[in-house]
Amino acid sequence: MSPGKTSSAVETGLTHLAVSLRAVTKTYDNGVMALGPFDLAVRKGEFISLLGPSGCGKSTVLRLIAELSAPSSGIVRVARHEGEALPGQVLPGHGIGFVFQEPTLMPWTSVRENVRLPLKLAGVPKADARARADAALASVGLADFADAFPRELSGGMKMRVSLARALVTDPGILLMDEPFAALDEITRFRLNNDLLALWRKLGKTVIFVTHSVFESVYLSQRVVVMTARPGRIQADIRIETVEPRGEAFRTSAAYSDYCRKVSAALAPSYSGQSTL
């Protein structure tokens, strides 16, 4: 198996695509093949969900795009967004924001310092970085909590901080790995709406990993359903509805139809051979 390769948009001429994965596979050191071959093209500004059973390699896809791990074979291409970086200045996070399953906050420092971290690591001057951190916090509705410590916040608020931190570098691409899975449903619904509002306002490309059929249909323009390990694409379903979406969509007949369709695509992975 030849080693995989990751290259930037400049040399590959990615124009309308934010992310492109071609024949990508990932085999872990212990010999487990987690992914592939897997193909995926995500347009700039698109909101897509990756949906699939546990262990199907959804998170692996995000880690490959974020260059937190390298593909075993195939090509991963990511269009680097220029953001607000000045010419010659390296953009922190290479134009990618990552929201993990857990809030993943540093418990020993304030909310503001947590959000400022990506800028601090990139050497952005303190005053500037603080202003941008406060702006990011305001965009997720936590302007008043900049000086609080993470433990003083609820689960939903911690997730918002995590989102603010991902947004603070103004990345073109937002990768979200089951960010709301641990939250109660009411908090999740509210965060779903807030995320959609932010997406409409900021025009980021969002790749959202979830194992909730309902969440994926509600949020995304495209739901990519993956098979059980090694993950491949089972179905690629476009969700077309009146934008902007709101609570009315959640109760509409079209929503139920899409949920049924996505569930049907997911069925082989839980009705077929047992993988757990």
Binding site: E67, L68, P92, W108, L117
Partner: protein, 272 residues
């Protein structure tokens, strides 16, 4: 979008007071019983001195004892500082290079498991007395600092480490902004153990030095008073040693609490 901070509940006053009051009551009861037994049975002071006699001796011999206390405390402090700096530095070195860790860690364990009382006489032969005593305190105290710091540096949240990687953090940045803060509770735990242990190390070495007929620390006073059957002074010196140990532990626990109180579970009230 509305959100609210969870209210921090006040610690329960009664329970807090009892934690202080109960040990004091037990202590007072023990002292009274001791005093009564000695007086009723007429036990001579060279067998078992009454608490009142011990206190009087402490006052009478304060000039000698306070001098010795200062000597022992200085030794303890030097041993503690050496152990803290050495333990943390070695743990950082181990964390940076696996090869260094593989090469040296077994010897750290050897140093730890060999009883210091057995090493002390040797050190007293090869080193100047004061240096030997400090080295003993260091040997006893550095291992908990080393192992706790190592544990702390390896306990970094995997996702946080990934985040630092994603944002291109350099090695020094990762160390300073991620690994050291994450290890801090463990380091402070190690220091808390090391404080008491450096006192033990100092005392053990002083006793070994005392058998060689030299010394001026509190442990030496205990040994010397033992030879002279000056039992009340032995108790008085022992009392000072215990108090020193308690103060050292208290100070380190307080420092740990002050540093961690805003974020770490160990420094938060149980009801949170």
């Amino acid at each position: 979008m509305s959100a609210q901070a969870t209210a921090t509940t006040k610690p329960q006053g009664v329970q807090r007071a009892m934690r202080l009051v109960l040990p004091v009551i037990v202590f007072a009861a023990g002292l009274i019983a001791w005093e009564l037994v000695v007086r009723i049975k007429g036990i001579p002071p060279y067998v078992l001195p009454a608490p009142s006699v011990i206190v009087l001796t402490l006052i009478k011999d304060w000039a000698v004892l306070s001098q010795s206390l200062a000597t022992t405390l200085l030794t303890t402090l030097e041993g503690f500082v050496a152990a803290s700096v050495g333990g943390i530095a070695l743990a950082l070195l181990f964390n940076q290079s696996k090869w260094v860790e593989y090469s040296l860690f077994p010897y750290a364990i050897v140093l730890q498991v060999t009883p210091v009382i057995a090493i002390a006489p040797l050190l007293l032969i090869y080193l100047e007395q004061q240096t030997a005593v400090v080295v003993c305190a260091f040997i006893v105290a550095f291992f908990p600092v080393l192992s706790n710091t190592t544990l702390g540096l390896n306990s970094v949240d995997r996702n946080l480490a990934g985040l630092f990687q994603l944002y291109g953090a350099s090695k020094p940045q990762t160390l300073r902004f991620l690994k050291l803060p994450a290890a801090l509770p463990y380091i402070l735990g190690g220091l808390r153990i090391a404080g008491g242990l450096s006192l033990i190390g100092a005392v053990v070495a002083e006793i070994a030095a005392g058998t060689a007929g030299a010394g001026s620390g509190l442990a030496y006073r205990i040994a010397e008073s033992g030879y002279r059957l000056n039992i009340p002074r032995m108790f008085a010196a022992l009392l000072l040693l215990s108090l020193a140990g308690i103060v050292i532990y208290g100070v380190l626990a307080l420092v740990s609490h002050l540093v961690l109180r805003r974020w770490h579970e160990s420094a938060l009230g149980k009801e949170n």
